[in-house]
């Protein structure tokens, strides 16, 4: 009666062969094309190094000044500017300036990539139900697959370093960008779009003059989510050679350094809140036309 108590599974030998076949296939693929694929991502690597060097080499007072100015430009609120500069000063005082700059560089690059990929895909998805039903399950997989699992093929292909780390972060942070762009455009008031059509807008004019601006609050929420997800991924990405605040956390886990972990963890929380408040304030300011009294 073993077939009742134990699930009838594929023969062990066959299973082993299957796994080996897939592994060998992928290994051969990465051996023969790994260099070529790496070359494709070369510009990305240069950009990452450039932005990281820019942030770490610039004297700290100038970085603080620029952050303060950006925060002011985005939010027009002294409270937010002081909070940003204060948080960074605190992080610097506790000896985490260098790591923080590396992390911020990583987050900015991956967010830019997620926006550059996510908005066009989201727009395509909003155009057709067929594309949506095709892309949605892929996004489900991206969001629920444990990140460690897709780190494996990325590392096999590209080795350890910044670029594979960036790719892992983008895979993790991209879904909300795509989903919320799609949702935002689908929610745009039909009569406004009819009006845009009735005055003879081309498809491009309709997209950039009506759909995207009207979807902007939802898209901004997507950008905010993407930044938060990217920050959450920083620790995991440090396992494959991404430097920054994640690396000390990893070291703290393996050596049971509670305080080291806590400090770096808090620094991640600090810049998360900083990014969140600034991007939200920017989003609200973009929507100033909604602040009227009527309707």
């Amino acid at each position: 009666m073993t077939w009742l108590t134990e699930f009838p599974q594929i023969d062990n030998g066959m299973l082993r062969d299957l796994k080996r076949a897939i592994d060998d296939g992928f290994r051969n693929f990465s051996r023969s094309y790994g260099d070529a694929i790496e070359a494709v991502f070369d510009p990305l690597r240069h950009f990452l190094s450039w932005s990281e060097n820019l942030l770490t080499d610039t004297p700290w007072p100038i970085v603080l000044l620029v952050v303060g100015l950006l925060a002011w430009g985005a939010s027009r609120s002294f409270r937010i500017v002081f909070a940003c500069v204060g948080t960074l000063c605190l992080i610097g005082a506790f000896g985490m300036w260098e790591d923080t700059m590396k992390t911020i560089s990583m987050i900015l690059t991956s967010t830019l990539m997620a926006i550059a990929l996510g908005i066009p895909i989201g727009v395509l998805m909003s155009r057709s139900d067929r594309v949506q039903s095709f892309v949605s399950p892929i996004l489900d997989v991206m969001q629920t697959m444990p990140p460690f699992v897709y780190l494996i093929p990325v590392v096999m292909l590209l080795g350890i370093g910044k670029v594979p780390g960036l790719i892992a972060v983008v895979i993790y942070a991209l879904p909300p960008m795509i989903r919320l762009t799609n949702l935002g455009i689908r929610q745009v008031d039909g009569e406004v779009l009819e009006a845009a059509d009735a005055f003879g807008s081309s498809r491009w004019q309709r997209l950039v003059k009506a759909e995207l601006p009207l979807a902007m609050p939802t898209i901004m929420a997507g950008i905010n989510q993407t930044i938060m997800m990217a920050l959450a991924m920083v620790v995991i990405a440090s396992m494959i050679g991404v430097e920054g605040l994640g690396l000390p956390v990893l070291r703290a886990i393996s050596n049971q350094y509670f305080t080291l972990g806590l400090f770096n963890g808090l620094a991640i929380v600090g810049i998360a809140i900083l990014f969140d408040r600034v991007s939200q304030a920017f989003g609200h300011r973009l929507q100033k036309h909604r602040g009227g009294h009527n309707v």
Partner: protein, 342 residues
Amino acid sequence: MSDPIGIQIRNLYKIFGPRGGEFVSAVQGGMSKQELNDKHRHVLGLRDINLDIPAGRIQVIMGLSGSGKSTLIRHINRLIDPTAGEIMIEGQDVVRMPPAALRSFRRHKTAMVFQKFGLLPHRTVLNNVGYGLEVQGMDAAARNEIAMRWIERVGLRGFETKYPSQLSGGMQQRVGLARALTNDAPILLMDEAYSALDPLIRYDMQTVLLDLQSEVRKTIVFITHDLDEALRIGDRIALLRDGSIIQQGTGQDIVLRPADDYVSNFVQHVDRGKVVQVGSIMEPMSASNTNGHAIPEHTTLSEALRQMLSSRLQVIDVNDMANRPVGQLSLERAIAVSAGAA
């Protein structure tokens, strides 16, 4: 100023549903809306619409909700594609226009005003009004100048930097109207443009429209469910029910000679004294003496009654625009018509 152009709608059918085209012949053969819906899960939007909209006049299309009037107006600029039929404007069939031609047609020949305004909330009044010219590719300085002119014309001077959400409903619809007029298109489509406004502002906006029309002479298609509004502004009125036109003609025709019980029910509450003009109910001249008292043919019935009573007349002459007598009206007939008995 562009010359007014007319619109001819011929044998227009719209059947909503994935296989609408297959049922046109069945509907032509007499299948009812109910049967189409029950048996085939398709909705009959419009059935055999034939309508000649004269150039430079206001054509009202009236009906209750669900009668297909908003569907019909959206066929004129093809926001909705018909299932069968043709719409001829300047010798061209709108239904058969390829996308680029349709876009150009929408940019230059038609402009539309929407029930819920359809304004772009992230743009100021000025940039909303200039939208039509912007998509045509006109540069900012030129379009702002034209837009400002129309903003002033509809009485919104000083509001051009406001956003739509900062304006009241009536003001938002003025923006919608200014946006449509800025295009200087010969055809103006107004889809229940005033239905969302409260009665006083609605009356006010009707006046704005009539004033403008006396200047610009556009071909206006005006959708409404409000009979008083239809009678006030419409040169011609078409009554729509369940996707078919059940009567078309002037307001006088519809009030005085309803085509069926449905129409007479529709018009029975109309204040005939204010609507009916003596020209529509006068009788042929007879020999009886009217003492030289005469009224123009566009005089309303209640005004005629007032004059006859104050001058104690049993009968009064009716003059045409050139002040020539063309008929006469007896007190008896005037009272009968205003009581709804004739």
